[in-house]
Symmetry: C2
DNA sequence: CAGTGGTCTAGACCACTGG
DNA sequence: CAGTGGTCTAGACCACTGC
């Protein structure tokens, strides 16, 4: 009951150059406040947030305004509405669509038909960020980062080789053992163990030829082309939190994408 | 002023097996009616549709209900709202984002920096659909289809080789000449000349090695891996209207994808 | 049955566009 | 200035969930 909604022009500045008054509707401000609560951990992944009526009372606006704010957050996969039950903070664990960011599908049959992927951690070590990694993670050159390499097997065959880099600070204490023990999506572990929730990601895809080491790990013949998938994953506030470079074998699988 | 909204349960059937009453909210029904008008060509791509108040009167519902229907159609890129002006039927032409379905980007710089793509029609002929194509286009085996092959060049270098298949009936009269003359997205030509608007698409991506013919057309060395992009494009009602198989050179470009 | 999100309405006012 | 979409409110009722 203590929060407060501010008047329309939030920026105290009156920049003569930018004539735009930067009008921001009420529901956008509410959206921002809810986002803050999510970010601060007031409501954790999987938990329910207060009801629309409660939030309306807290922010001193109508239910409809809260509703519109929640609608936008839900359409961005930050919240999940469940009629009759409430609104919940989205999570990568126990979600209908696990592996939300993995678009590799078997050529025939659904993803579930081949069962869960088998995972092998190949390497997990700390090192200092080079120029490329520090730029991608928006950290300083030489900062500590965690580098993990692993292979994913579908139906027994090695299909994905991936390397990922995480900023050292937020992931202090992450070891190969913790990763191996954990049974479930890696992003779910990040949520429960480190309070880092990945909200969106971007991928850049190319076709490449593997080197000898990759051929060995993926058990493929030389010159078998691979899909190179470079992903940057972001947490709240568009903060990059992971750089991942994956190599996909596309003999029996394909990268699936829906265009709207 | 003649249309009418039906009561909640649209299906006259009372199937004992399926206990679900199939409740459909009013705004969904309105959405369906608007979709019908779009499909029938009552409002054409680029044109404005009646104002929210007019539609509310026509369908005998409140403005808010029409609004929610339009909102969903707009978020699906079927309509475009312009404050102060009206609501318009989306089009692939003169749109902010031309080439909406083309996700290939230059590695550095924005898509506009390299200017518009140069296009070369290689082949355009009619033939009979084999099993694969008839399945993809939901037509009968042996039905007439149009097959087009072309190369796209970015900044002067051949980058995309693609083959596409269209059902013969809706595209009667499409020739290589018409395609060559036209300056703009192919999907825009489909709209203006054949009244076919592509609404969404799905792509399956793999990494492949090119054959000799592809190497020649794309001016690449053998064993240069390519991105194979197989796209099915749909018009209203989830009707498949195009099968397209593209081969992308990813030396200086990449396939960009945003994950939410 | 109470509590939640979901729908629908009616009306007021605001921001933007164009004549 | 009139007309459009955009915001905000208040209230009623419906559909779904779980106790």
């Amino acid at each position: 009951m203590t929060s407060q909604v501010f008047s329309v022009d939030a920026s105290g500045l009156t920049d003569a150059a930018s004539a735009a008054p930067a009008f921001s509707p009420l529901y956008q401000q509410i959206k921002g406040l809810i986002l803050q609560s999510l970010q601060s951990g007031e409501w954790k992944p999987g938990e329910g947030i207060p009801s629309e009526m409660e939030l309306a009372a807290r922010y001193r606006v109508s239910q409809g305004t809260v509703r519109k704010a929640i609608d936008e957050l839900a359409s961005g996969n930050l919240l999940i509405r469940r009629q009759g039950k409430g609104t919940f903070v989205a999570t990568h664990a126990e979600q209908q669509v696990q592996y939300r960011f993995l678009k590799l599908m078997p050529d025939s049959g659904n993803p579930k038909s081949e069962g869960p992927a088998q995972r092998k951690i190949i390497d997990c070590k700390r090192l200092r960020a080079n120029a490329e990694i520090s730029r991608a993670l928006a950290i300083r050159n030489g900062d500590a980062v965690l580098q993990v390499s692993r292979v994913l097997l579908f139906a027994g065959s090695p299909t994905i080789l991936e390397h990922l880099w995480l900023p050292g600070a937020p992931f202090k204490g992450l070891t190969a053992e913790r990763l191996s023990e954990y049974d479930g999506p890696m992003y779910a572990l990040f949520e429960t163990e480190f309070g880092v929730r990945m909200v969106r990601a971007e991928e850049k895809i190319k076709a490449v030829v593997p080197d000898a080491a990759q051929c060995k790990l993926l058990e493929i013949k030389p010159h078998t082309p691979l899909l190179s998938v470079e992903r940057t994953a972001f947490t709240y506030n568009d903060t990059p939190m992971e750089l991942r470079r994956g190599f996909y074998v596309t003999n029996t699988h394909h990268y699936h994408n829906a265009l709207n």
